[in-house]
């Protein structure tokens, strides 16, 4: 197991290195001066220029430059934003938590509703129930997110006026950022409007989280269903039935834990699509997360923000994919069999 973990870590480092290498190469392709693309400082003073040349070893060969670039980036120096002149790392620190908050809410909705519905679909004897659930999930899977987001905001926001459709919170509530997670910060704050602000923040997150949850939700339902049907035909389930165990116990104790393993793998494979999905959702609902920050950076030709955003998102996806694979191995004895055989 130790060797396995070591190899995964190795994979993570190697992939990240290649990714940063590509990013480094791409930085040179931006149609601006190299010092500007690297640091975001438009017209540096003489002393700044010397500092930049030292930091990025601009007078030595490409390989040394890459090493210097790597050092700067990994020590957290992502340069300053071209438009706001603030440190990109700081800006990332304010936008990443907002994205996490949205992602966690969406994951809660997708898994909390998706798993039970998947089990229901697999256990139902009625063709009608099964087909209905499948039809709904197939529709959800196929609907383009930009259309769904816009229509949800049109129905619930504009026509019915039930839910706010953009931002994280009514801006009149003044919440001091402590952790960066809005809901947590509101609870930590000592504002007299704390309770109303918390409700307002919850209302704001409903539509974006629901929109973002649709795709993973359908994936969860469909893969839970097929995995459950697969597991329920296994001999150990029939043995349990033969012992006279209650169906609910069989499903919850014996079938579901086994069925969730392939669901996990499915989710892991789709992380990349979820991320691009999230960027679109953030744009539609003006959610102040890393996605809308990155897109506005692209519009404003903010080269340092573009690099910082891509670096953060890509590292996160690589890390999470590998984490899910590791979890999959930990929970699935069958995949460990391969491992032992190969070692």
């Amino acid at each position: 197991m130790f060797r396995y973990l070591l190899r995964r870590l190795n994979l993570f480092l190697a992939t990240s290195l290649v990714m940063i290498g590509v990013l480094f190469y791409a930085t040179g392709l931006f149609p601006v001066e190299r010092t500007f693309a690297l640091t975001g400082i438009h017209s540096p003073t003489a002393s700044q220029l010397i500092q930049i040349e030292q930091d990025y070893k601009l007078d030595s060969n490409g390989f040394m430059q890459f090493i210097a670039y790597l050092q700067q980036r990994l020590s957290g120096n992502l340069g300053v934003s071209v438009t706001s002149h603030q440190s990109v790392t700081e800006e990332l620190g304010t936008v990443l938590p907002a994205s996490f908050e949205l992602a966690v809410m969406a994951a809660v909705i997708a898994i909390g509703l998706g798993v039970p519905l998947g089990v229901l679909a697999s256990q139902s004897q009625h063709k009608l129930t099964q087909n209905t659930i499948m039809a709904i999930t197939l529709t959800g899977y196929s609907v383009p997110v930009f259309w769904l987001g816009l229509y949800l905001s049109l129905w619930f926001g504009v026509d019915l006026g039930w839910l706010p459709i953009s931002g994280q919170l009514n801006l009149l509530y003044e919440i001091k950022p402590v952790t960066g997670f809005m809901l947590v910060d509101i609870l930590l704050s000592d504002s007299e409007y704390r309770i109303s602000a918390f409700k307002d923040a919850l209302l704001h997150i409903v539509l974006p989280a629901t929109t973002l949850a649709v795709l993973p939700f359908t994936v969860v339902v469909r893969s839970t269903r097929s995995a459950m049907m697969n597991v329920m035909n296994q001999t150990f389930i029939r043995a349990a039935e033969a012992r006279g165990m209650h169906t609910n116990t069989i499903i919850l104790r014996h079938a579901l834990p086994n069925a969730l393993i392939p669901v996990l793998k499915h989710l892991g494979l789709m992380l990349g699509s979820f991320a691009s999905y999230a960027i679109v959702v953030e744009m539609i609902f003006s959610w102040p997360g890393v996605g809308s920050w990155l897109v506005s950076g692209i519009y404003q030709r903010d080269y340092t923000v573009i690099q910082g955003g891509i670096l953060a998102v890509a590292l996160l996806i690589i890390f999470l994919s590998i984490l899910i694979e590791v979890l999959h191995t930990v929970f699935n004895p069958l995949s460990r069999k391969d491992l032992y055989a190969s070692n």
């Binding site: 017209s43 934003s81 438009t83 706001s84 603030q86 800006e91 304010t94 905001s153 926001g157 504009v158 006026g161 839910l163 706010p164 459709i165 953009s166 931002g167 009514n170 801006l171 009149l172 509530y173 003044e174 409007y193 309770i195 109303s196 409700k199 307002d200 919850l202 209302l203 409903v206 003006s286 102040p288 809308s292 920050w293 506005s296 519009y299 404003q300 030709r301």
Partner: protein, 525 residues
């Protein structure tokens, strides 16, 4: 979850006003810019000026100067300053003294004195002041005592007081400036602004919001709302949606096509006011073949303005026959100088010996009061010009990139416009088309004509309105002859509000002000 929400009772909202604005300000000091977005966010909220224009009567009224006197020869102006005016304080700065003559000296010397330690802090220069030749016009600003200053001019200028009343001529704190300079961060002065206006800047989060609080020590009538928030929302449809959903109470610059939607929602209302503005199509007169006046005139004849009024403004604007809008006192409705005539345009091009002309039109990416949709305008012009055999490429970038590249002088022509800062007609000519405006990159036509500058100088030296009107009409005729740019339309200023907002004052010129705006308190369920 809805059960939980109901259980907690009605929702309480802090008192305040949210304004959905259209973009990020470039700076928090209006001296350094000409963009309306920055003016809206700073000038009337954070700062005050020496004198102000009364929004309704258009007359000059006292602000930080309580009275002023012009010398007989018109070459010096003496101002008596208001006493007991306090500067705002922030986490960075606590003022130790009241506003006095040093602050006035600092605010203007920074602009006119090239050796002033703060002069070079601005990377963008002082575009408005450069465009009107302010540093040549003002010889010196002198302090008589703590509450009296005197401005000495190089030549007589009827528009001088009007220029001091513009949104750009704000008063900064000299004490704060010295403190930041000593700390080695002079740029903080323009970023973490301190002024004497009705609101104090609290926090600015790029792409998200600007938060202000009421300034309790404001010298005038204190602001009606405790808090003012600018919700930065570049998309016009999103601003409308936020207004309907109640996330903002006032929304900027609606597109004309959205106005019918407002009428379906009874809680919304439209504020509008004929504006002192002009949308125009400026030709880069230094770039061939646009340096040939025949080509420029041909292009001007080819554009069907009525079509633009219908499609872009949905008939909410007035066709421009010259630079001056009907709301200006120097306007004359009888003179229509350039009409729509494609045949004439083709003849002129033939005469100039130009075939297969292809030009770029740069279209502003943001909605402005004078042109809600420059891209659509560009498309209409594209099809008009196709009629006379001219090919058009439309070019657009995000605003910050757009304005940067525009100052690099590499464009053929640009669709942009001008919002007047005061009611003086000079404000339409000198900042846009004079030679000094060319040095500050505000002259989008890059057109410098000594003869035209002489006309403008003459108009500033006489003082009766009737005489000045005549000279400005002469200027208009000269422009119609030379066509450095084609004026398209004069738009109304429009803002959308929720109906619990009162006294939202739109003025024909200048930036928006929330000092007097109030809101009926109501509980939101």
């Amino acid at each position: 979850m809805s059960g939980l929400l109901v259980a907690c009772g009605p929702q309480r909202l802090p008192s305040g006003l949210v304004y959905c604005s259209e973009g990020n300000p470039e700076s928090f000091n209006p001296q350094l810019v000409t963009s309306g977005t920055t003016i809206d966010a700073t000038s009337h909220q954070i700062y005050s000026r020496l004198v102000d224009y009364d929004a309704l009567s258009g007359q000059l009224v006292p602000a930080l100067a309580t009275s002023w006197a012009e010398s007989d020869d018109g070459l010096s102006y003496r101002f008596t300053l208001r006493e007991n005016v306090k500067f705002q304080h922030s986490s960075r700065f606590t003022p130790s003294r009241d506003f006095n003559a040093d602050d006035v000296l600092f605010s203007f010397n920074r602009i006119i004195d090239k050796h002033h330690p703060y002069h070079g802090v601005s990377r963008t220069g002082y575009p408005f002041f450069q465009s009107i030749g302010f540093s040549e016009q003002v010889k010196s600003v002198e302090k008589i005592n703590d509450h009296e200053v005197i401005f000495r001019l190089a030549r007589k200028d009827a528009s001088f007081l009007s220029n001091l009343a513009t949104d750009f001529a704000v008063i900064l704190s000299s004490e704060y400036a010295d403190q930041q300079l000593a700390l080695g961060h002079p740029e903080n002065l323009d970023h973490f602004a301190i002024g004497t206006g009705p609101f104090t800047l609290v926090h600015y989060a790029k792409n998200e919001y600007i938060r202000y609080r009421r300034n309790p020590d404001f010298w005038g009538e204190p602001a009606k709302v405790d808090m003012l928030v600018y919700d930065i929302t570049p998309k016009s449809t999103v601003r409308l949606a936020k207004l309907i959903a109640g996330d903002c109470s006032v929304s900027a610059l609606p597109k004309a096509g959205e106005l019918p939607v407002i009428k379906q929602h009874e809680q919304l209302s439209i504020e509008s006011q004929p504006g002192l503005n002009v949308a125009f199509w400026a030709f880069n007169t230094q770039k061939p073949p646009l340096d040939d006046v025949r080509v420029r005139r041909a292009l001007a004849y080819a554009v069907d303005k009525q079509n633009i009024l219908r499609a872009v403004y949905q008939n909410t604007a007035i066709e421009a026959i010259g630079v001056l809008p009907p709301a200006s006192w120097a306007y004359d409705s009888n003179k229509k100088l350039l009409d729509y005539n494609p045949q004439k345009a083709r003849d002129l091009l033939k005469e100039a010996g130009i075939n297969n002309l292809s030009i770029d039109i740069w279209a502003m990416p943001v909605a402005r009061a004078y042109n809600p949709n420059a891209l659509k305008t560009a498309e209409l012009i594209q099809s008009d010009l196709a009629n006379i055999g001219v090919k058009v490429n439309i070019i657009s970038y995000d605003w910050s990139v757009f304005s940067q590249r525009l100052s690099r002088d590499e464009y053929d022509s640009v669709l942009i416009g001008w919002n007047a800062d005061n009611s003086d007609p000079d404000n339409f000519f000198t900042p846009l088309l004079s030679c000094s405006a060319m040095q500050s990159n505000n002259n989008r036509s890059r057109w410098c004509n000594k003869e035209f500058d002489a006309i403008l100088d003459r108009a500033r030296e006489v003082s009766t309105q009737a005489e000045r009107k005549e000279i400005y009409q002469e200027a208009e005729a000269f422009l119609a002859e030379q066509v450095p740019m084609l004026s398209l339309a004069h738009a109304k200023r429009v803002a959308l509000t929720r109906s619990d907002i009162h006294d939202m004052q739109l003025t024909p010129f200048g930036g928006i002000s929330f000092a007097q705006t109030s809101q009926t308190i109501q509980e939101k369920n």
